[in-house]
């Protein structure tokens, strides 16, 4: 009974929280999500051991909603994006999203001992695009700068690129995609991504 009452009272609270999140600034969003994910990893032995199902669930529920995969795919495609049919664009976005989720699923358990330093945000009022800068500190190693390119959407701020130590995810894939499209066309790229995603997850 008490539990039900508690839920009843908590429900409107969580609605308030959702409303507050809609106006959350991009740097606050990055911080909240990063700390949330780090806390989850630190608290869960399965995640630390790299339990793929659980890691994937964590990524899908906590990280994926904050990324704009369509824009990431469009940027990675460069000028080839416009020559792709809407159907191809959808397939590419789905495959690219799967690839990125898989990659992060393999890597996330390594982050347990990391701490993140959040740099002050340089942003003018009315900006719809910003870069949120962070620095990941690892024990006894030099820190790695990780920047997030973010855009304002009706659905809150979303990331469309991650730049790790100066290496942009989107640009790196633009090279990959461009070379494949040159030799085997857009369908060739869809196929290459599909094959990659169907392959075994490396251990």
């Amino acid at each position: 009974m008490i539990r039900r009452l508690v839920i009843l009272f908590l429900a409107p609270l969580s609605l308030c929280a959702v409303a507050a999140l809609a106006q959350e600034s991009p740097d606050a969003l990055v911080k909240r999500v990063s700390e949330d994910v780090l806390a989850s990893i630190r608290a869960d032995k399965d995640l630390q051991a790299g339990n793929q199902a659980k890691v994937k669930e964590l990524i899908e529920s906590k990280l994926v909603p904050h990324f704009d995969f369509t824009r990431m795919t469009a940027l990675a495609m460069g000028r080839n994006w416009r020559s792709a049919t809407p159907e191809q664009q959808k397939q590419l976005t789905d495959q690219f999203r799967t690839l990125l989720v898989r990659t992060y699923s393999g890597a996330l358990s390594n982050y347990r001992d990391n701490t993140i330093d959040y740099k002050p945000l340089k942003m003018n009022p009315g900006d719809n695009e910003v870069t949120v800068r962070t620095e990941v500190r690892r024990p006894s190693q030099s820190p790695v700068p990780i920047d997030y390119s973010m855009e304002k959407t009706a659905d809150g701020w979303k990331a469309y690129d991650i730049i790790v130590a100066g290496v942009s995810l989107v640009t790196t894939y633009r090279d990959e995609f461009g070379d494949i499209i040159k030799t085997s066309g857009i369908d060739g790229l869809v196929k290459a991504l599909g094959d990659k995603n169907r392959g075994p997850a490396p251990k």
Partner: protein
């Protein structure tokens, strides 16, 4: 002998195949050769070095491995400091030499990274970047088996470092070579995690690694503000 044969035959086959597939470009004029070297590397690494590194990680307690990494990290700091000086970065040189001093003494030859605990930041610097600051161009990209991605300039930097490393001054050859070996193993073991990322992320591992290497070096050279790349 037989084992070597097993390693070399697929390696040679891969070299021939890779050589055909690649066409050189402006970023990588030696691509066919590099891809061949990459195949050799992959074959030897998969057969021998990676399993040894994995066994090392599995069978060595974490604190011991951390101590080993710190020991070699202390030598890294020494070279970072030297290159900070060569590039006229007094503050960073101070941090680097402060770290070496603290860790070499109270940290017992670098095994304990007291400097990090004391909050002295660790930064990387190397001869390749120094040569770059002095105006030396990268030169062609190179993939060297059992060493990894580099360029003519960065590779030259590494040669300078290997020739001047304190480990080279150890008289006892057994100790000297054990330390070279352990340092290599430590580096390889540290790469196991990022390698998983590369395996999952890359459609073409050779190309992915090359582009990531060249971009990240550019970023380091320009200290986080590289000029925009020219479109091809």
């Amino acid at each position: 002998m037989n084992a070597l044969h097993h390693i070399l035959t697929p390696a040679l086959a891969a070299v021939l195949l890779a050589g055909c597939a690649a066409t050189p470009s402006r970023v990588d004029p030696l691509e066919p050769w590099n891809r061949a070297m990459y195949s050799v590397h992959e074959t030897v690494d998969t057969a021998v070095i990676k399993p040894v590194a994995q066994a090392y990680v599995r069978n060595t307690p974490d604190p011991v491995r951390t101590g080993v990494s710190n020991f070699f990290g202390n030598i890294d700091d020494l070279f970072s400091g030297i290159n900070d000086v060569l590039q006229g970065k007094a503050n960073r040189a101070g941090d680097a030499f402060g770290r070496v001093l603290l860790n070499s003494t109270f940290g017992i030859a670098g095994i304990f990274d007291l400097a990090s605990m004391a909050g002295i930041p660790k930064d990387k610097n190397d001869f390749g970047l120094t040569f770059g600051k002095w105006g030396a161009p990268d030169g062609p990209y190179l993939f060297i088996p059992l060493f990894g991605p580099t360029t003519v300039r960065d590779g030259t930097g590494w040669l300078v470092r290997i020739y001047t490393s304190p480990i080279g001054y150890i008289d006892e050859w057994a100790v000297r070579w054990s330390l070279w070996g352990l340092g290599y193993l430590d580096t390889r073991a540290q790469l196991l995690d990022s390698e998983t990322v590369l395996d999952t992320a890359a459609l073409d591992k050779y190309r992915f690694l090359r582009n990531a290497y060249l971009r990240s070096r550019r970023y380091q050279l320009y200290e986080g503000n590289p000029p925009p790349e020219t479109e091809e």
